[in-house]
Amino acid sequence: MHIDRYEQIWIRISVAVLVIFMIGIVVAGWSLSIQVPGVYGRVDPNTVTEPGSPWAEPGLRELAPGKYEAYILAQIWTFVPGEIRVPAGSEVTFYVTSKDVQHGFRIQDTNLSFMVLPGQISKMTHRFEEPGEYVFVCHEYCGVGHHTMAGKLIVEEAVASNQ
């Protein structure tokens, strides 16, 4: 099979570009640890709010100074809790699940974005350095009220939390 000289050059360039992209995602994923969600665990969506379940009382829990867990329950068409406050510099690990249909979770101005499925727990961690209000939205269609499903995470000046 005859391949034109310019086409051979083009093929080499194409392969090189794709290999560079592959290296790029490896570096970002494993050296800079910008990771996508993985496997954490499962729950029964029918009993997820019953006593004993961490989502019986969803909310923020402090593990150590500056280290938090946030248990968030997604349901049509709200997040519980709808407002979270943490001091600047905190590292927050989110555990989110749904008790009804599929939802999404995305905190604006961060890399935090994942699907929320009934029966599955989505887990992701983020460190909030900049004080301010971060809106979080549901980004998967979940019914006629989908566009009203949002909340906010307020990162307060670190001094405030020391008082």
């Binding site: 570009v17 496997v39 974005s113």
Partner: protein, 563 residues
Amino acid sequence: MSVQSIPQPAAGADAHSSEARFSLENKLTGWHIGVAMAALSIGVTLGIMQGFEHLGIDLYKYTAPAFKTYYQGLTIHGVLNALVWTTFFIVGFFTTAITRSLDRPLKYPWINVLGFVLMFVGLLMATYPLLANLATVLYTFYPPMQAHWTFYLGLTLVVVGSWVAGYGFYFTLHAWRKENPGKRTPFIALASTITMVMWQIATLGVAVEILTMLLPWSLGLIKGTDPLLARTYFWYTGHPLVYFWLLPAYVAWYGMVPKQAGGKMFSDSLARLVFWLFLLLSTPVGFHHQYTDPGIPQGWKFIHALLTYGVAFPSLLTAFTVAASLEIGGRARGGKGWFGWIRKLPWDNPSYTAQNLAMILFAFGGISGITNASYNVNLAVHNTVWIPGHFHLTVGSATTLTFFGIAYWLVPKLTGKQLYKPKLALAQAWTWFFGMIFFGNGFHLLGLHYGVPRRTMLGAAVYRDPAWTPFLIEVFVGVLLLTTSAILFYWVIIGTLAHKKRLEKPVEMPIAEAADPTPVPAWLDTWKPWLYGAIALIIIAYGPMLYTLISEMQLTSPGFRVW
């Protein structure tokens, strides 16, 4: 210009009698693309209404008995455009493409008639719950949102009908090979059939999803469902689905457009290699739609990311080969210099122009597609309006605008009439082009900079931000141009059907010759290694994870109707 001359009539051949041999094929093609265009006319109208809604103008109160809410409209827009317009047009187009490329009528025409009937009955069945607002689940129908069972069964029949049409094509190709021992399969017939085989393998996912999970669940035979397993089945089909939309356009770009440009196929062998690579690599990449899903290990997502870069390779090859084929045409028409040949291309021919503009839009769509595929980079854009920005450039332009271009020779061919007002058809192509540029650019920026969620009634969103407005206006400018373009398209098509100017000579399907006369090597005309390779890759890339998900299946989610 004269429209009759767009696709050159075969020199010397007794074109009239050859047309008569294909009268059933012509009818079949006409039924398919007729349904496709009717579906698109409704789909596009809803798209325009979505554009108004994003600007805060709610038109659904006026369309209420038929289309009650934004989300019902969005579901119908997705189903009619992405599933119905594409599938019906593709099967219809291939009916002509394969039989003319082989110069042989269908071996068993009844199989293809049956395929059409199944697809049509399926469409009618799905129309009922869509219009009755019983299936406002969007075209991805993720459970546990539960549609009426007729929606699932209707979609299944559409897919099964397209399989049956595929069988009709395989038998025809097989018969041709027996009648022509030792000859290489003509490119267009081979590439089209590879596309149908790829589709057959790819749709197994959604078939299993519907038949083993959603249909019995919506009928109340099983109580619950497992949303993650269903998503995994869905995206097994969902990615190759995009190649099912794209490859028919590639068939035209490789095998037909060079002829319309007065050129030749730059490399017949590489064109075939591209299609075999798509057969091999289209399916084992579906986890790139599930990067942000819980319950699937990062390792598998990463493997699919690498394979996705692999499937980008044949598209990169296509960019070069198609451009080189057009260059042959431009130079044969007297073009000189580095870029002078571009000006000499037949820009006065609407069929050519639409397809060339489709290629340019696809270059932009391809770049944003590589971004989507890039594993962790996906987090920035996942489920934002960047994504509809991307796929209106791909399926909404590369595919759709190419199909418009094909229609500009195919409809005259089927009806024996001149294309009505070719100047309007030219304007149609350019307005779609600029419309999608504004639409795509605005959506890409809104998604990237503001994380604006897709599939959302943005006009009423509680977190709507005034900073979005300039970009929403840019999108709206796109919508207005697209509206104009859609009106022009139907004006030209209906005009062609309605007027009385018959063509003197029947239109021939454009078939590009290979520039290099040396025959294609035999390994590019053999099915088995590619087919077995494709199955092996699917088993490697999907087998272990599917095994885990199925063995740990928990049918805990009841159905919800939340619209």
